[in-house]
């Protein structure tokens, strides 16, 4: 039962070593001060034990130098920990621009994944080693949290918004994937595995997907099926704003102000169109809340985003000039 007993998690990502370094430092500091205090307390308690029933201690009221010492030494150590922890966090937070993006949707009680190339999976995540991978994550229902202990990364998956996390896998293998935020009855069943593969193996696995299942292709089809294209046309004649080239750019809003047209804004514009209306347009778009799933929202976003990439397809339904 207890063979191969682990006391320390595998370091399977590039980030794991950084996190473990600060961990070991803090374990050492904790051990030092705990032992120091324990030793002093025990030594004092034994050395100054009461020998007669009416013994009393020596009246000592304090010492300013000592107080300053044990205020500032812990303060300096704490600040070292703070800065170190913050630096590690910045690395965990800022994803490199060239990261491979994968969409993840959490729902009670499974993880659904869409790769840009068309592969889809449930409760598994295949990734290549040596390449930064960025997960863009939404939730269909309640809070979840995507946690890969061997990579030392975790991020809550929050309904109504997109949280991201990134990592670079280092060692091929299969690792635990857990939901870390309590999400109801089968919370502990919302687990799976992350499979890190050598790049050629990953490419072979990825090619098993069908191109028409890619989020962009699926989004383009949805754009047609939901008749988005009747208003969002390729020119300014439409009743809705042109979507070509807007992704990632600032958009002027009705009533002043701008917003960056990122995943969050496009999502909001689909489920709650009246929230931030683009300047020069009427608030006439109906909400699609309840009509599209979180996965479909991500597909629509992928499609809108593809309209801003070089060689972007002309939006479907655009009248030819």
């Amino acid at each position: 039962m207890f063979t191969n007993l682990p006391f320390f998690p595998q370091q399977a990502s590039v980030q794991a070593g950084q996190v473990d370094a600060i961990y070991f430092f803090m374990v050492a500091v904790t051990a030092f001060f705990s032992l120091l205090i324990a030793t002093l307390v025990v030594v004092f308690a034994v050395k100054y034990r009461r020998r007669h029933d009416d013994d009393i201690g020596v009246a000592i009221h304090g010492s300013l130098p000592l107080e300053l010492l044990w205020t500032f030494v812990p303060l300096v150590i704490a600040m070292v920990m703070f800065v170190w922890g913050a630096l590690v966090f910045f690395d965990l937070y800022r994803s490199p621009a060239n990261a491979m993006e994968i969409y993840v949707v959490g729902k009670q009680w499974m993880w659904k994944v869409q790769h840009m190339e068309g592969q889809r999976e449930i409760n598994q995540l295949h990734v290549p080693i040596g390449r930064p991978v960025k997960l863009i994550m939404g939730s269909e229902d309640v809070l979840h949290s995507y946690y890969i202990p061997a990579f030392r990364v975790k991020a809550d998956v929050v309904p109504g918004r997109y949280n991201t996390m990134w990592f670079t896998a280092k060692k091929p293998g299969e690792y635990h994937l857990f939901c870390a935020e309590y999400c109801g009855t089968k919370h502990s069943g919302m687990i799976g595995s992350v499979i890190a593969m050598e790049p050629p193996d990953f490419q072979a696995w990825l090619s098993g997907g069908r191109a028409e299942d890619s989020p962009v292709a699926a989004g383009a089809k949805l754009f047609q099926d939901l008749v988005c294209h009747t208003c969002h046309m390729g020119d300014t004649q439409g009743r809705g704003p042109v979507l070509t080239g807007v992704f990632g750019k600032p958009v002027q809003l009705q009533g002043g102000g701008t917003v960056i047209a990122d995943e969050a804004y496009i999502r909001e514009s689909i489920v709650n169109p009246q929230a931030k209306v683009v300047a020069g347009y009427q608030p006439i778009m109906p909400t699609f809340q309840g009509l599209v799933t979180e996965e479909q929202l991500l597909q629509l976003i992928a499609y809108v985003r593809s309209l801003s990439q070089p060689g972007a397809p002309v939006p479907a339904g655009t009248p030819k000039q």
């Binding site: 207890f2 007993l5 682990p6 006391f7 950084q18 996190v19 600060i22 904790t30 705990s34 205090i37 324990a38 307390v41 308690a45 100054y48 034990r49 009461r50 020998r51 013994d55 009393i56 201690g57 009221h61 304090g62 000592l66 107080e67 044990w70 205020t71 812990p74 303060l75 704490a78 703070f82 922890g85 913050a86 630096l87 590690v88 966090f89 910045f90 690395d91 937070y93 229902d141 309640v142 946690y147 202990p149 030392r152 990364v153 975790k154 991020a155 929050v158 309904p159 949280n163 857990f178 939901c179 870390a180 935020e181 309590y182 999400c183 109801g184 009855t185 089968k186 919370h187 687990i191």
Partner: protein
């Protein structure tokens, strides 16, 4: 040995004399009995959790039942045991005596707070008995408002009501400490137990209204579908976390500050020596109370709050560790050149110092934002906060209960058994919770009904430790109860300690003091020396 003829215990007989009492000492006993009952209830839920986790598969309870068990464990232990534990029993009993007063400022409000507490307990028990609640004690949205179909409303109402009891207790303490101090009882002669409760009371009256509002908003969204937290209704789930932790992190200090106050008293009494650095201990309590209000965001490092908010909360979380460190060093220095006797209260206090040091320092792991990403919501966090709440708050509570037991009951408990009990609690506690640090760093998430088999060994240790810990809690229950009937009568000052409470008979008369005392020096002055002043 004097046996007082008329004490608060025999001044009036029958149920009505207790249920309608306005005597702070009797109300403290009412609280003592009720929180002990809820501690047993919360302990039962914990036992169920530990039994289930003995094996990796979810085989003893269903997932629904398991989730309800850990939820009810948290709700009962936090709101019905830990928050009221020391303040409502030991604080209620001793703050008026320690400041030289006949009672708290508002005796009727004091009794009212107990009735409100009982009402909160009834709602919570109703929630448990009618089928339970499965949201976790944190009631995170939108699960609690939109998804869970368990008895969220009655449990939330229980928490809402319990808050008022807490607010009234805090209010009573603050007014009492300001207005009812005896002649000569200056602020810097107050026992440190009183300072700790002053700081605690500030949190109670400033923080508790926020949890009440938050819980009410959850109820409004759940019952009336007002869009506050649920994004499907236009709300923001992370807003709930901000509001919840704005109270619930300071609530941790509501639990630990009074225990720190107890430890300050015990260390002085059993080293027969005044505290080292009086004003540093006193002001560090206030510092913890104030800074503690500004650290709630460290519960949201992985929730998607802004990076800069995360950095600020991380920074302030490190700062709040400093006043705690100051206390630990000052307690240690107090033992130096004392006349130390290792009676049960002192064993608990020493246990507290050790376990609180580990609990506090592992808190730094969680404040370090880059490291928290990994250990957040794992058993590392579970181990950390149990070191603070069980290793800290409950050790402090048990230490204080033993220290003042002879005064409260007029009876001496069996000291050898008490020492055995203290050691069993210490061993059982460490066996239960230390392995959880390792399981947590290995990645075992909290609130898991079933778990991968490689974590089993740590869970077996934990469950074994929990059964030892249970024995450690039952032993005192037996010898303390026994002492009520057969214990030797206690003199006024069985420990040779100093302080107003030891100058009046055991058990005290209803009015506490026959003549209002005049105070000329600080407490715990053993050596004939000068005033216990600043520093």
């Amino acid at each position: 040995m004097e046996t007082p003829t008329l004490t608060y215990l025999n001044d009036g007989h029958g149920l009505a004399s207790w249920l309608l009492t306005k005597d702070h000492k009797r109300i403290a006993i009412l609280y003592l009995v009720s929180i002990t009952a809820f501690f047993a209830v919360g302990g039962f839920f914990a036992l169920m959790v530990r039994l289930e986790l003995l094996t990796p598969a979810g085989d003893l309870l269903s997932s629904e039942t398991y989730n309800k068990m850990f939820t009810m464990h948290g709700v009962v232990m936090v709101f019905l045991f830990l928050v009221p534990s020391i303040p409502a029993t030991l604080g209620n009993f001793f703050i008026p005596i320690m400041v030289g007063a006949k009672d708290l400022a508002f005796p009727r409000i004091n009794l009212l707070s107990w009735y409100i507490y009982v009402l909160a307990g009834i709602f919570t028990l109703y929630s448990a008995l009618s089928g339970g609640v499965d949201t976790g004690w944190t009631f995170y949205t939108p699960y609690s408002t939109a998804a869970s179909n368990t008895h969220v409303m009655s449990a939330a109402l229980g928490v809402f009501i319990a808050g008022f009891s807490s607010i009234l207790t805090g209010l009573n303490f603050i007014v009492t400490i300001h207005r009812m101090r005896a002649h000569g009882m200056t602020w810097f002669r107050l026992p440190l137990f009183v300072w700790a409760h002053y700081a605690t009371s500030l949190i109670m009256i400033l923080g508790t209204p926020v949890i009440a509002i938050t819980v009410l908003l959850v109820a409004a969204e759940r019952a009336l579908h007002l869009g506050i937290f649920d994004p499907a209704l236009g709300g923001d789930p992370v807003l709930f976390q901000h509001l919840f932790w704005f109270y619930s992190h300071p609530a941790v200090y509501i639990m630990i500050l009074p225990a720190m106050g107890v430890v300050s008293e015990i260390v002085q009494a059993f080293a027969r020596k005044n505290i080292f650095g009086y004003s540093f201990i006193a002001f560090s309590s206030l510092a913890i109370a104030v800074i503690g209000f500004l650290v709630w965001g460290h519960h949201l490092f992985v929730s998607g709050q802004s990076v800069y908010a995360g950095l600020i909360f991380s920074f302030i979380s490190f700062l709040v560790a400093i006043p705690s460190a100051i206390k630990v060093f000052n307690w240690t220095a107090t033992i130096y050149k004392g006349a130390v006797s290792l009676d049960a209260p002192m064993l608990y206090a020493i246990g507290f110092i050790g376990l609180f040091t580990i609990g506090g320092m592992t808190g730094l792991f969680l404040a370090a934002i880059g490291l928290d990403i990994h250990v957040h919501d794992t058993y590392f966090v579970v181990a950390h906060f149990h070191y603070i709440m069980v290793g800290g708050a409950i050790m402090g509570y048990l230490g204080g209960l033993h220290y003042w037991w002879p005064k409260m009951t007029g009876r001496l408990y069996n000291e050898p058994w008490a020492r055995v009990g203290a050691i069993v609690v210490f061993v059982g506690f460490n066996l239960t919770f230390f392995p959880q640090f390792i399981a947590g760093y290995l990645g075992m998430p909290r609130r898991y009904h079933a778990y991968p088999p490689e974590y089993q060994v740590f869970n077996v240790f934990s469950s074994a430790g929990a059964s030892i810990l249970a024995v450690g809690y039952i032993v005192p229950l037996i010898y303390l109860t026994y002492s009520l009937f057969k214990g030797r009568r206690s003199p006024a000052d069985p420990w040779g300690a100093r302080g107003l409470e030891w100058e009046i008979p055991s058990p005290p008369p209803t009015a506490n003091f026959t003549v209002s005392p005049v105070v000329t020096h600080g407490t715990h002055q053993y050596a004939p020396s000068k005033e216990v002043g600043i520093v």
